[in-house]
Amino acid sequence: MTFAAPTPLALIAELTHRCPLHCVYCSNPLELAHRADELTTEVWLRVFREAAEAGVLQVDFTGGEPLSRPDILELVRAARGTGLYVNLITSGLPLDEARLDELVEAGLDHIQLSFQGATEDSANEISGTKAHAQKLRVLEWLKRRRVALTLNFVIHRRNIDQIEEMLALGESSSAGRIEFANVQYYGWAFANRENLLPSRQQLDRSLEILRRAEDRLRGKIKVEFVVPDYYAKYPKACMGGWGQKLMLIAPNGDALPCHAAQIIPGLHFDNLKDHSLGEIWEKSEVFQKFRGEQWMPEPCRSCEHRTRDFGGCRCQAFLLAGDAATTDPVCSLAPLRPLVDDIVAAANRPRAETLVKPDWLYRPNPA
């Protein structure tokens, strides 16, 4: 039996996996899409029209680095033309002032600029390239332009003690929002987890600083953060529930319910080259597989939290437990929670923090 599909709200358009950064926590899959397989401009334009018709409100251009696409202006203009709210998630590296003006002119509503740290050395270590100084230049250019800005700091063991400096950087910019996003352990981050997962003490200190900043900056800058999964009592409502609110389109046109779904064995993803967005959203096997509650095992099936967290994240369940259809092991009620407790315990054992950089697995660039 099939569940009635809710209205999709946002489209995450992974335009390309090409990127000038090599971040050790990148959420892209370990197997990156090749440039030659990327969707054409024409298909994307059709997808935006179909998305708007299906009720989608917002499109997030991401990647990889979405500005690596030579047709980015055309994509922004077309998406905005269908009425979608257009958000660009960028490293800022390919930007110059003229490009920025063209993007704003094309109808860009919002820029989310990523930062890998508050200081040049630590940020460049994480991104595996010299990127920080350019990002600071972009912040200056943005002060003189009418486009909304969110700064996104990705937080982990090696930079969580810089939260105050990150806040200061955010406050000196034109950002209306600052996101502190704890690393989620998929893809490259899962491979580098040992060096990324913070200690309980680090986390508690950061949360205290962030709660104070949230109060202090209310009405000026929106400060957003969540307790990272492995330290939470209940799992996150991953993507607002599988097939509930979001569709992610990979560079090759595969339609996914989330960033990491490709790791789940046995799923066949329908492609936007062959099917319409509405058809995939409503009817594809993948979007229905974990939609709603029918798939749920106990303890989720009878749990009062199931309508809030939807049993947590399917990809995390697979990565940690080898079974995508089990309760997310990060849940304190999950039978497999001891798996996560062991990982957290390891992160809290005394260890000598190295000043030299860890043995990172850097994300390469696709062919």
Binding site: L9, G55, L57, Q58, G83, Y85, N87, D109, H110, R146, V147, A148, L149, T150, G176, R177, R218, G219, K220, I221, K222
Partner: protein
Amino acid sequence: MTPDLGSCPRLAVGCRLNEKGQPSRVLHMPERALRLNGPSLEIIERCDGKRTVQEIISELQKLYSKAEPQKIEEDILGYLERLHDQRALDFAPAPSDRSAEAK
């Protein structure tokens, strides 16, 4: 912060109403969208940086003449304050010649 009655609310950068004629009206904001019903849409449409808070209240009191005027004022002030906290609204000071021109 309770909005100043003489200030002129306007949508903040990155916030906009979707087009008229859509099946449902929403206020787009960075990373979220707010669905608008009758009164909330009437208020947001008037946050144009030209009308003062007081003028918006008066217009809504006329529009919803069966409701308690005092209640309308409180509701609008509370709503504008919430939107400001969410960074959806700025309050521009009214130009000094503005009140004369409006009369």
